[in-house]
């Protein structure tokens, strides 16, 4: 059985690299408004980095949904975990 991945820790590291901010600490209720510089361009940079690091693919509708006002880090992590489980 493969070891469980700590998605939150991996994602936090990716956030720190993409936003060039080593002080970022992810919380479930954080949204794009809480991370300075999280615009449409960095959103794609972030998703490309997540795809590369975790070996998953995001569809256009998923990328768009993650930018929605009702989305936060918690829903981002849940989407990644669902994709990882689906293989």
């Amino acid at each position: 059985m493969p070891p469980l991945r700590d998605v939150r820790a991996e994602l936090q590291e990716i956030f720190r690299q993409v936003f060039d901010d080593p002080t970022i600490v992810l919380r479930d209720d954080m949204t794009a408004a809480d991370v300075e510089g999280w615009d449409s361009v960095t959103h794609i940079d972030l998703l490309i980095a997540v795809e590369r690091a975790m070996g998953i693919k995001f569809a256009t509708a998923e990328m768009s949904r993650l930018k929605g006002p009702d989305q936060n880090i918690g829903s981002f992590i849940r989407l990644i975990e669902t994709k990882l489980q689906a293989g």
Binding site: D21, E36, S40, V41, H43, I44, T60, A61, M63, S64
Partner: protein
């Protein structure tokens, strides 16, 4: 049927009463379909247009079926390309019509074909096509597809609702009707929209046309009126339309996406487009920018930053030229694309020069925010001047304003004191309002919330609005004026 008319108000009222009296989901769906058909019928001018309308709907539905059955990217690309070419040709983009050697009999410029809402139908179709290919689309059939495409509150000028959202409300039609408070708020929104379109927008348009006397070199005051009046008209006309259809949709159980979020407080061009015609901007962001930038940044990670500038320019240029085919719209697209790319590049430079902490201080400075808002406001007004007129006329207006402003100090003595004094007073008040816009916005929001929680106050507001709108329609009737059109229905 014009949305800002007494006829639409009665049409909406009748639809809501019949809808809520009908028991069960299926019957309500049929009523909504009939309502959309009744709304659409007078907007299709002739048999040839009906045939093309049917051909577009059947053709796009068949393409969706093929993608669902085969799921191949090549089919998606071919279908999207064909539909776009058809759109460009039908919208009379002259360049394309001259390049493609269609026989005269097939040249649609020679036939009176008018497809209402074609742009919005194509936006919805491409979104469904891509999402179906990527396995993200909820189940669809011909019935749900037709109702999604033709629903009367989105067909003429949006907002661009996503299919999965539409289907959720479509399947929830047997839920209880909204409570009294919500119904009052939705009717208030419809009437607010009518006042915006019928009074405020119409007045701003009149000011613009009286100042924009073609073949005459404008004075400074005329040039400034042209510069500011047209964006005011555009905002009230389109946001008023949006209020009307969002209210109408809400009364039938559909929550539609918002299209405006205080656009005049944007601090750069990208921010502006995130607040203006939001459903279109988000569509372009998702299906033009995100798709192309992801491809470019994956293939060429070293040059991702430069690709982002180029593709932002392209995305906003597309948003601009979608509005029309003349040189003015092309210039409008170029200015918006340029504004977006420069905004992004400026942000990158600031980040590199200032570093994270000083950038944070810079971005949160009230002075920087005020300057950014004022600059963006004027940049947007200038770009919309090209939208309103053609390139030559817009340049003439800007040139006249620029040269008069340059020599203003030396010619000030020849002006009477009232004009400049009033202009300075209005400018100072606007700047003060912008400076404290957060406080002002918060006070207004709290006041609206306070009223919104009291049905008695809401009823009073609605009664006042009814009297005002009745007066507005009476004046239109007395002076035999047509209901004001919604400009975005032409796009």
């Amino acid at each position: 049927m014009a949305v800002c008319s007494l006829g639409f108000l009665f049409f909406c009222g009748a639809a809501v009463i019949v809808f809520h009296l009908a028991p069960g989901k299926r019957l309500r769906q049929v009523i909504l379909a009939c309502t959309s058909a009744l709304f659409l019928a007078p907007l299709v001018p002739n048999l040839r247009s009906w045939i093309w309308f049917a051909a577009v709907l059947v053709g796009t539905y068949l393409a969706l079926m093929v993608v669902r059955a085969r799921g191949r990217g090549a089919v998606v690309a071919a279908a999207a390309t064909l539909v776009l070419l058809f759109y460009l040709y039908l919208k009379r983009y002259r360049l394309l019509a001259e390049i493609i050697p269609f026989p005269l009999a097939m040249d649609m410029r020679l036939h009176p074909v008018e497809l209402v809402g074609l742009s919005y139908m194509i936006f919805k179709f491409i979104h469904m096509l891509v999402d179906q290919w990527q396995g993200q689309l909820a189940p669809f059939n011909l019935w749900t597809y037709l109702n999604y495409q033709l629903s009367f509150f989105t067909i003429t000028a949006g907002p661009i609702q996503r299919y999965n959202d539409f289907l959720r409300y479509w399947e929830e039609m047997d839920l209880q009707p909204s409570d009294t408070r919500e119904s009052l708020l939705l009717w208030i929104r419809i009437l607010t929209g009518m006042i915006k379109v019928g009074v405020l927008g119409t007045y701003a348009e009149t000011v613009f046309h009286s100042a924009n006397r073609t073949h005459v070199v404008p004075t400074l005051s005329e040039a400034l009126l042209c510069l500011y009046a047209y964006p005011v008209y555009l905002y009230f006309n389109f946001s008023g339309y949006t209020d009307i259809v969002l209210g109408a949709g809400g009364l039938l159980g559909f929550r539609l996406p918002e299209n405006f979020n205080r656009p005049w407080l944007a601090r750069n061009v990208l921010d502006f487009w995130d607040r203006w015609h939001i459903s279109l901007t988000h569509w372009i962001r998702d299906y033009v920018f995100m798709a192309s930038y992801k491809l470019a940044a994956t293939k060429f990670p070293g040059g991702a930053r430069y690709w982002s500038y180029a593709l932002l320019f392209f995305a906003l240029f597309v948003a601009g030229v979608w509005h029309g085919t003349t040189d003015g719209f092309i210039m409008f697209g170029v200015l918006n694309g340029l504004g977006a790319a420069v905004t992004r590049a400026y942000g990158d430079v600031l980040r590199a020069v200032l570093g994270r902490q000083r950038l944070h201080v810079y971005l949160h400075s009230p002075t920087v925010r005020l300057v950014a808002i004022v600059l963006t406001l004027h940049y947007v007004c200038i770009s919309q001047l090209f939208f309103a007129t053609d390139v030559d006329r817009a340049l003439a207006i800007l040139g006249a304003a620029g040269s008069e402003l340059l020599y203003l100090p030396s010619t000030l003595s020849s002006y009477s004191w009232q004009g400049p004094a009033i202009a300075i007073a209005i400018g100072t008040l606007l700047l003060a309002a912008l400076w404290k816009s957060d406080v002002a916005g918060s006070i207004i929001e709290r006041f609206v919330l306070w009223i919104g929680q009291r049905n008695g106050w809401l009823s009073a507001v609605l009664c006042l609005q009814c009297m005002f709108v009745a007066g507005m329609f009476f004046v239109d009737w007395a002076f035999q004026q047509e209901p004001p059109p919604v400009l975005y229905m032409a796009f």
